[in-house]
């Protein structure tokens, strides 16, 4: 039987969700779907990220961002949500913190809203269905981009 020692490189790899200091990146997930929130949360926590908070709509997301600030490194933001949509929430978060790193989570067919979000200051986007590789790639790309 193979043991952990047979895969030293894999087991020695530090989790992607930690900064050089060893502290985890803190993420705010804004999505009205319990399923999508759980999916993103599972992917991120499995790599050592800290999901600092979740929010069910753009208004809640904006308030949580202000509460967490400056101890928040990244936001994943759904586009279509009740109360306040993701594009408006993005705009208001950027108004509050122009350095905010926000990734839009979009269904196919929302290209116009994704483009608008990128112009407004979103750093990246992910089109659903979400998979682990796609999410981690975009999240890391966004966190490491200065």
């Amino acid at each position: 039987m193979k043991t952990k020692q047979d895969f030293p490189n894999i087991n020695q790899r530090p989790p992607d969700g930690r900064k050089e200091s060893g502290k985890p990146y803190r993420v705010l997930i804004v999505d009205d779907s319990m399923f999508v929130t759980k999916q993103i949360e599972q992917i991120l926590t499995s790599e050592g990220f800290d999901v600092a908070a979740t929010a069910e709509n753009g208004q809640d997301g904006l308030e949580k961002y202000k509460e967490l600030y400056p101890n928040v490194d990244l936001v994943t933001m759904d586009i279509t949500m009740p109360v306040m949509d993701g594009v408006t929430s993005l705009e208001k978060i950027i108004e509050f913190d122009k350095e905010a790193k926000i990734i839009m989570i979009s269904a196919l067919g929302k290209q116009d809203l994704v483009k608008k979000s990128l112009l407004l200051g979103a750093k990246n986007y992910i089109v659903k269905p979400l998979d682990r590789k796609k999410v981690l790639e975009r999240v890391l790309m966004t966190l490491k981009k200065q």
């Binding site: 399923f35 999508v36 759980k38 929302k110």
Partner: protein, 154 residues
Amino acid sequence: MRVEYINPFVEAAFSVLKEVLRIEIKRGELYLKSVSQPVLGVTAIVGLAGDVEGRVLFDMGEATAIKIASAMNGELMKKFDDLAKATITELANMITAQAVTKLHELGFEFDLTPPAIFTGDNMEVTDTGIEALIVPIEMEFGKIEINVAIREKN
């Protein structure tokens, strides 16, 4: 009803189900219904309004819905609870978004309602003045019927 309305939904359902479930999926015989028809127990409904109007149902038995939700969440679920409902809603969302992108490319302009889920036994759906086209999709988890009733707006 023109078949070109239903094909994008069937193609999108195939592509999304294969991607999220990673199992083999087969298409059953398409059929047409113009009177009331029973629905299977868990139904996601999406409304369309614009150049075309009507509704699309993603209809399945509760056991199938629980198996799909379990596979999509990577955990065994025993009840059709809130997480399972959110999962089936998201599945309907992803399929509809992909289908609508194709229909927009074909030149049809319309808006969608967010999916709603209804559940229960002995339910029927009746569409007044629109025939429904139904495409069964078979897989190891059971059957999903894609039930499309759309007409061009005068």
